[in-house]
């Protein structure tokens, strides 16, 4: 057929390659219309089509006895007993936040919350995982303040508690911050809603906000490098008040007889929601864009289809259910407009009044999206950094241990997040049992049951950078460890894969290896992947971000009253369970004190990891363990200091055995990092029993000190008042 000129400029605008364009022409047997081309661009973007990541995501374990819904819907769902399910997902809003941090982060929260209530679930907890460049650079401070403001502004207004998260700073995130938002909801099994269109002739109803020109091409924008240079008007503006009304109205609408599907409008707006609904149901959908309520005159079909105006939802309803559906939305003063119908021919057909703008089989947009399996190569520079000897760094003198501890506690990557979490409402919904900063994960109760959920996000990107397979394993293992430290059993995970360009062999290598590592750990720890999101092309200038496969996890406490935090009670004995020997490789100590990112990350034995977590969970369940905290960034001494600050108590430590086993390198013993190690506080009379349990499970255990007084005293290294530790720890983020 004749090929009319589609310029490179046209293709760049829709982010398709020439070859992909040719593929569209071949699929259709003709040239696409402009609206069709725009829709292919959006649906075949990495953000919607996962064209680089889809083959790799197949490595993830996605099933398990508790999994009710794995990847493929708006969010995953796991059984938590009592006929209830936890529904959860994490999603990125990195590129919008790099351009307009407040609205970028706010709409990130809005988007993930919609993903949860689209499933029929009541959102009960928000988390966020953030990465920025160093705060002494004014641009990074601006991004940080804006993002934190946007998260609080949106979540607080919705009335969903923001209970957990993680923040890390590294110069590799300058200019490309990461904003990953996670939401957890609760639903009765039988009320889980699908986004699959069913029933030929059923009505397609658009509810919520009017459609404007904001956010056009947001999905493609999320899949390009240097977002700041390319687009500005693509960042949407959030309206949390409207989202609150939409949330309540949609949850009420679940009870309307005849509602068969719900799908929120996120990336690629109406385009992706209609295509997804139709494609999943194996049916077609026909809509008329003239029926779409708009914010301004003169919008074209192209603009309506690609707008990413927020706070909108698509509902598929039987005709006889429409009056009751309308009643619900009237009550909330929201409009509900019938814009089309479900058809039997499998085509997405978009009309603009009488004119047919789009007529394409739905599966062309989804199943026929090209996928790329590339060949990854590890960067020479990273191999050299990993293999670098760390013996050359001057050993730490005993006199320097306490000054170094104070410096480590004030490191931006370790210090208190109080100034941030204070701006997030974390007590609303009256479920919060373990608050932010009280424990390794937050715990929320489930009203009407004796149980509760532990939730946490995390990822140590330096581990992933220096060894992506091992680092991917660590990302899963550490979050599971955090969950276990509250007493909860890890159930399942969601992830947000933040990486650089997959088109560069070094970037693809990181993505592929990290996914394989995460998959291995998820399988070993029985935490299947039930949902996730991919954010590639996180680069600024020539530099990619540190590879950051953020993991969000949900764990279950059958009896939430047994949940514990990290505050070590007076008089208890501190034990180190798990790996006694740490390494300086990839550590915060090397980065903070020696300005070096190098060495092998800590080794990880998944069998030991499992056992350590089990021993701690059982110790908590039987009332033997009163506080637990994993040692992560900053190592053993930082972990102990955090437990003492949390409880306002001092301690006397004897770490000589660990020093000996660390070749008498105090830096390794005190601040080296290792996986599979947890500090627990136990009553003196129960120490032997906990030691026995650890021995029975092949978990190394060492007595390291006693909680007493108001200073931290370390044998051979001097002492420091805990209030000084607190002051250092609280100073780190500045203002």
């Amino acid at each position: 057929m004749t090929k009319v000129t589609v310029t490179d400029e046209t293709l760049r605008e829709v982010a398709l390659t020439r070859a992909e364009y040719e593929q569209v022409v071949e699929l259709l047997g003709r040239q696409p219309s402009p609206v069709e081309l725009g829709m292919f661009g959006a649906m075949w973007s990495e953000h919607c089509g996962y064209k680089n990541s889809r083959p790799l995501l197949k490595h993830f374990p996605t099933t398990g006895p508790r999994v009710l819904q794995g990847p493929g819907e708006n969010a995953g769902a796991v059984d938590i007993g009592h006929g209830l399910a936890a529904v959860f997902k994490i999603e990125s809003h990195n590129h919008p936040s790099a351009v307009e941090p407040y609205e970028g982060a706010a709409t990130g929260v809005g988007g993930i919350v919609r993903d949860i209530f689209t499933m029929g679930a009541r959102p009960i907890a928000l988390l966020n995982s953030l990465r920025f460049g160093p705060l002494h650079i004014p641009r990074n401070r601006y991004l940080f303040n804006g993002v934190v403001g946007g998260i609080g502004g949106y979540g607080n207004c919705l009335g969903i508690p923001t209970v957990a998260g993680d923040i890390l700073f590294d110069e590799k995130y300058s200019g490309n911050p990461l904003v990953n938002a996670m939401c957890v909801g609760i639903v009765r099994h039988e009320q889980l809603m699908s986004a699959t269109a069913t029933g030929v002739g059923n009505l397609v109803v658009l509810v919520g906000a009017d459609t404007g020109r904001d956010g056009i091409h947001g999905a493609t924008f999320a899949s390009v490098e240097n977002p700041e240079e390319s687009h500005r008007g693509v960042v949407q503006v959030g309206n949390p008040f409207l989202e609150k009304l939409l949330l309540e109205a949609c949850l009420e609408a679940l009870d309307v007889n005849g509602v068969v599907a719900m799908q929120d409008l996120g990336a690629a707006g109406l385009t992706s929601s209609i295509v997804e609904c139709a494609s999943k149901g194996g049916l077609g959908i026909e809509i008329d864009v003239q029926q779409v309520a708009r914010r301004e005159r003169g919008m074209t079909a192209y603009e309506v289809m690609l707008s990413e105006s927020q706070e909108r939802m698509l509902i598929i309803v039987r005709e006889d259910g429409l009056p009751a559906l309308r009643d619900v939305f009237d009550r909330w003063d929201l409009h509900a407009d019938v814009i089309g119908r479900v058809t039997d021919d499998g085509h997405v057909r978009i009309l603009d009044g009488e004119t047919v703008e789009v007529d394409v089989p739905a599966t062309h947009f989804t199943d026929d999206c090209p996928t790329y399996i590339r060949h990854g190569v590890e960067s020479r520079k990273i191999i050299e950094a990993r293999e670098r000897s760390l013996d050359g760094f001057a050993a730490l003198d005993a006199d320097d241990v306490i000054p170094t501890l104070l410096s480590m506690l004030a490191s931006p990557n370790i210090c208190s997040r109080e100034s941030v979490v204070r701006t997030y409402d974390h007590t609303i919904m009256s479920n919060t049992v373990i608050e932010p900063l009280q424990g390794d994960a937050a715990v929320v109760r489930i009203k009407g049951t004796p149980s509760g959920l532990a939730v946490k996000t995390d990822c140590n990107p330096r581990y992933v950078y220096l060894d992506p397979f091992l680092g991917g394993q660590h990302a899963v293992a550490e979050v599971a460890r955090n969950i276990s430290c509250t007493g909860a059993t890890p159930l399942a995970l969601t992830n947000c894969l933040n990486f650089g360009s997959p088109e560069k062999p070094e970037g693809y290598f990181q993505l592929e290896q990290a996914i394989r590592g995460m998959a291995a750990a998820a399988a070993a720890l029985d935490t299947p992947v039930v949902s996730g999101n991919v954010s590639l092309y996180n680069e600024s200038g020539d530099e990619a971000i540190l590879p950051t496969p953020t993991v969000g996890m949900v764990g279950l406490l059958e009896d939430v009253s047994l949940a514990i935090g990290m505050a070590a009670p007076l008089g208890t004995t501190l034990l180190l369970l798990g790996e006694p020997v740490a390494t300086l490789g990839a550590s915060e100590y090397l980065a903070h004190i020696h300005d070096t990112v190098a060495g092998h990350p800590p080794k990880l034995d998944l069998a030991l990891e499992r056992n350590v977590q089990t021993v701690v969970r059982e110790g908590i369940a039987s009332g033997l363990v009163h506080a637990a905290h994993d040692t992560s960034e900053g190592g053993l001494l930082v972990a102990i200091a955090e437990m003492l600050i949390a409880g306002g108590q001092g301690a006397t430590l004897d770490l000589s055995e660990i020093e000996t086993r660390s070749a008498n390198r105090l830096d390794r013993a005190m601040f080296g990092e290792a996986a599979s190690r947890i500090v627990v506080a136990v009553d003196a009379e129960n120490v032997a029993q906990v030691q026995q349990r650890a021995n029975d499970s092949d978990v190394p255990v060492a007595v390291i000190g006693t909680v007493a007084g108001d200073s931290l005293r370390i044998a051979g290294c001097g002492n420091v008042p805990v209030v000084e530790l607190r002051i250092a720890w609280e100073s780190g983020l500045g203002s």
Binding site: G152, G153, N156, C157, L158, G159, N239, P240, F241, L242, K244, L245, W332, D333, V421, R422, T423, Y424, D425, H426, T427, I428, M429, S430, N431, T432, V433, E435, R445, K447, V560, S561
Partner: protein
């Protein structure tokens, strides 16, 4: 005793208020929709927290025009007990049922934490039976909680025993360090001259169970149950 919890568009503390009464007090409670025009059958009203109408103008400024506000006003004028919490406080000042105004926090940012408040008077239905001087630990979560009133009016407030709660430390001592939002005279809660309309920025309805951090808010909600019963019997 039957409580009513008024729900405006954007209210988000309604769930907690309903649950605090249902689970904490084990009393009857019903939601009241903002488009309703009657509060008949309710013995006490709770105006919950949230962001009514998004608080895009001034907090509470639009909600006060809701149809239900006339009914709340009549109920209050008849001496019925009304408790405004957080955004509910803001709505009651905007509606003219309480004096003063709530400004942006002195620190200019939203603040979610636990605070201590000292009970200043036991003459209201929500503090009767709580000895003056009693310190309660309650959560706050607000961006516009800085109570302001002109100096002359503050003197009137003091003279009329209309200051119900003040921010203090855990021992009941007032100082600026324990005032989370810069409120004038460390005021956390006030009442009208008659004493039946009370409002505070902290959230007693989120402190009804030790499992979720504390149960001292129940004392405020329970007081009205006792007050209500004695009013009926009087």
């Amino acid at each position: 005793m039957k409580f009513g919890v008024v729900v405006f568009p954007g209210s988000n503390g309604d769930h907690d208020a309903l649950k605090a009464v249902e689970l904490g007090l084990q009393e009857e409670v019903v939601p009241i929709w903002h488009k309703d025009t009657s509060v008949a059958g309710c013995d006490a009203l709770l105006i919950p927290g949230g962001f009514s109408y998004g608080d895009y103008l001034r907090a509470g400024a639009i909600a006060r025009f809701s149809p239900i506000v006339d009914a709340i006003t009549s109920f209050a004028n008849d001496g019925g007990p009304v408790l405004g919490i957080c955004n509910g406080f803001q709505v009651l000042t905007e509606a003219g049922l309480l004096p003063g105004a709530l400004l942006k926090n002195a620190g200019l940012s939203f603040s979610s934490t636990w605070v201590h408040v000292r009970t200043e008077t036991d003459r209201t239905p929500f503090t009767v039976g709580i000895d003056p001087g009693t310190v309660l630990r309650l959560p706050i979560a607000h961006g516009q909680g800085r109570y302001f009133i002109a100096p002359d009016d503050l003197a009137t407030l003091e003279a009329n025993d209309q200051i119900v709660f003040r921010y203090t430390d855990s021992k009941g001592h007032e100082d600026d360090a324990h005032n989370p939002n810069g409120s004038v005279a460390h005021i956390a809660g006030i009442c009208n001259q008659r004493g039946n309309v009370v409002a505070l920025m902290p959230h007693p309805e989120r402190a009804y169970d030790a499992l979720i951090g504390g149960d001292e808010g129940l004392q405020i909600l329970r007081a009205v149950v006792h007050a209500g019963l004695s009013a009926v019997s009087a």
